[in-house]
Amino acid sequence: MRWLVALLLLALAAPVTAQDTMPPAPYAYTQLEDPAQEEQARELMHTLRCLKCQSQSIADSDAPMAGDMRHQVRTRIAAGESPDEIREWLISRYGDYVSYEPQISSTTWPLFVIPLIVLLLAGTVLLRRMRRKS
């Protein structure tokens, strides 16, 4: 039993240490040459969550994984992919969690419906006030 655990730990640990010791990918800390493309990449990176950090986007983080993701985003933008395609690709890889921009789905609809209800409620309160004469 113990050797199994040890083996598992080893298997899990190996890629992690590899990731930490590898040099950062070239586009992790450098920008794209084309300002328009860089602007696209920047906007996208600000809406992607750094999975290793706490409440930071990949554009705000020193974590190696955030660096790798920045590299991915920039190379894909440079290759002509659209920000939405890259977001889709990252979501298919890491799940909805990676995107700070919640998409309307069977789990997230209340996030969009509730503000609408609040808006209607606020409107009704104000309308009623308006009708009522002092």
């Binding site: 040099p23 920008q31 990676v98 789990t107 503000p115 606020a122 104000l126």
Partner: protein, 667 residues
């Protein structure tokens, strides 16, 4: 020994809270009950004992008494003194002790000072304050004792998270906590008024300075926290919609709404139930925030406590206090008579819009913060971040800011927009001119564009209430309002300008390289190792010049701490009136070049200047209120009746003006 004194003082305080609750209960039912006499002394003594207890904790951190478990876990003998002291509250147990100390101090203060309310209402208020206090005493004494001893005594402590070893953090949590917990007074006043059926303008006048005080601290705390994140995290972001930030924003939103609705109640005897509700909600948001941060339910930059046992304890307290308050509210709300009526185009009407919008934003922040936690319970992980919060809160923020510009110009009770036609035209023209100019000449996305235009409108409008007044005789509260509203405009402008115009340069630089960024040139002169008391760092010596002007120095560092191990980025900030240059240094790449991150952030500092102006407006208004209350008290002592300043300032003044005013005479 010192730790034991601290613990004993805390137990005694808890016992006094029980006494205060019993006395308050009987005193609120029957004004002649003798137990009533216990309440005020118990509250004051409790405050003194809690302060003693807290000082004991600071002392054991000061001398690094490693036999105290909390010190061993969070401090280190090599740590600089300032951070040894701030370590006392930069952890779960210490921060909860700070919480109860502030709460006891607030309760002691109202017991000592406040004599304007009917005695029964006051007893109910102090009883409620004690009732809430008891829960937190139990939580500290049973589940998070800060004075627990450790045996054997370790050779040295574990140190403090390097991110927290910063002067900003020494100052930020106590400020926020005074704000959070200061709102407990509003909660107690609201329940006291509700229980004894005393929801009157007098109640609002008594509660208002306390809310204002707490709100000032919250404002400063949030601004300081934002600035801390900005310079300490090293990537130039100043607001992340992080759950911990939201936890401090929510009580602020509720307290802001409460301040405005309390003004309506004080001056016009309207919005009675609503003000009570906000009093309950404001402190409830403080408790929800504490629950989020302290229960470990979040994993975020600020949340260092992970302990489900404590989480369920706080959750039980939350359910008891918020649920209990809402039950009392539901039972008693129908007994509150409807207040004075008013038309929508009136000062009250504008304040209702403000309240509805602030509450809606509060609801959205609450939803966006709690929703991911809810889905996580069902094993679905979603992230809610800036792309959600920014536009959705803007839906309510934009109309609120428009009303903010015009509302203070309206009269109480009933007014017409035709009367203030010219100021409104000036404001609208200012907004439109800036909107069109910015849309034509600068490439901006929609939110910063609206932000800049509204900042212009609100900025111009904020001092319009002074128009036609003798500046020397204008009450301080009006000045405070104008300055706070101007602060909103300044802050908004900073946010919009930074979002729209910031420039970013991420480069790998050799020593000697010059990097151009916006109007700046930055030269990397050299890179050298430096050492501090508990860290080492690589320091980049850099020179910066604005539009070819004189050279300025700034030394960003990449620091490595060893106890506990961790890395932080010490950024260099070159501040001008029109913005900040932000420089950070990263690691060395394989080829020997250094990663540099540079941002030119136009007007970014205005965000925090605006925050300070908002707080300053609060301070001025508070001084004005307190001074006029004191004068009134003196006048009463001399046997003269003196009307409340509210009535003179707004209602009567406006009435007098409207009778004499030419516009009204015509109609």
């Amino acid at each position: 020994m010192i730790a034991e004194i601290g613990l004993a003082a805390l137990w005694l305080s808890a016992a006094l809270a029980v006494l205060q609750l019993v006395g308050g209960f009987f005193g609120a039912r029957d004004e002649t009950n003798e137990l009533r006499a216990l309440v005020r002394p118990a509250a004051v003594l409790q405050a003194v004992l809690c302060v003693i207890s807290f000082l004991c904790l600071v002392w054991v951190f000061y001398v690094t008494d490693l036999s105290v478990k909390l010190v061993a876990n969070n401090s280190h003998s090599m740590k600089p003194l300032a951070f040894k002291l701030s370590g006392a509250w930069a952890n779960h147990e210490g921060s909860m002790l700070l919480w109860i100390t502030v709460m006891a101090a607030a309760g002691g203060l109202i017991a000592f000072i406040e004599r304007r309310l009917p005695e029964r209402a006051m007893m109910a208020t102090l009883g409620t304050q004690a009732f809430v206090g008891i829960g937190f005493y139990l939580f500290i004494l049973l589940a998070s004792n800060p004075f627990e001893r450790l045996s054997p005594v370790p050779a040295d402590g574990n140190g403090l998270n390097p991110l927290l070893q910063d002067m900003g953090v020494s100052f930020h949590p106590p400020t926020l906590y005074i704000g959070y917990v200061g709102l407990s007074v509003a909660f107690s006043f609201a329940l006291g008024a509700l229980l004894t059926r005393n929801v009157t303008p007098e109640f609002a006048r008594v509660m208002r300075p306390w809310v204002l005080g707490a709100w000032i601290f919250l404002t400063i705390g949030i601004a300081a926290g934002s600035y801390w994140a900005y310079y300490e995290l090293g990537w130039g972001g100043w607001w992340f919609w992080d759950p911990v930030e939201n936890a401090s924003l929510m009580p602020w939103l509720a307290a802001t709404a409460l301040l405005h609705s309390a003004s309506v109640l004080a001056a016009r005897d309207a919005l009675r139930t609503w003000t009570i509700m906000l009093g309950v909600v404001a402190f409830s948001m403080s408790m929800v925030g504490t629950f989020l941060v302290r229960s470990g339910i979040l994993t975020s930059v600020h949340a260092f406590a992970v302990d489900p046992e404590r989480g369920s304890f706080i959750l039980a307290l939350l359910a008891l206090y918020i649920g209990g308050a809402l039950v009392v509210f539901a039972m008693r709300a129908s007994t509150i008579a409807e207040g004075q009526r008013f038309s929508i185009t009136s000062r009250e009407g504008a304040l209702v819009v403000n309240n509805v919008a602030l509450s809606a934003i509060l609801g959205i922040v609450l939803l966006g913060t709690l929703y991911p936690l809810l889905t996580e319970a069902f094993d679905v992980r979603v992230s809610v971040g800036p792309p959600y919060f920014n536009p959705v809160s803007a839906i309510f923020l934009v109309p609120m800011l428009l009303v903010l510009a015009v509302g203070p110009l309206l009269r109480w009770r009933r007014d017409s927009l035709a009367r203030i036609k010219w100021p409104v035209i000036v404001i609208v023209v200012a907004i439109l001119v800036v909107l069109i100019a910015a849309a034509l000449f600068a490439e901006m996305s929609i939110l910063p564009l609206l932000g800049i235009a509204l900042a212009a409108g609100v900025g111009i409008a904020s001092f319009m209430p002074l128009r036609g007044r003798s500046l020397r005789r204008t009450p301080l509260a009006i000045w405070g309002m104008c300055i706070a509203h101007f602060g909103v405009a300044v802050s908004l402008f900073g946010m919009a300008a930074d979002s729209a115009f910031q420039q970013e340069r991420l480069v790998a630089a050799n020593v000697g390289d010059t990097i151009e960024i916006g109007p700046w040139e930055a030269t990397l002169q050299s890179i050298s190792p430096v050492a501090g008391p508990n860290w080492t760092a690589m320091q980049a010596d850099m020179f910066y010049s604005y539009e070819g002007g004189p050279l300025m120095e700034g030394h960003p560092q990449a620091r490595s701490f060893w106890a506990p191990p961790g890395e932080t980025s010490e950024v260099a900030l070159i501040t001008r009136w029109n913005g900040q240059l932000y420089a950070a240094v990263g690691n060395m790449a394989e080829d020997g070049r250094w990663q540099l991150r540079l941002w030119w952030k136009p007007f970014v500092t205005w965000i925090w200047y605006g925050g300070l102006l908002i707080a300053l407006g609060g301070v001025i208004a508070l001084v004005g209120r307190v001074v006029s209350d004191l004068r009134r008290r003196e006048a009463e002592a001399r046997g003269e009746a003196r009307p409340y300043p509210d009535e003179v300032e707004y209602a009567d003044y406006d009435e007098v003006r409207s009778i004499a005013g030419p516009e009204e005479a015509k109609s």
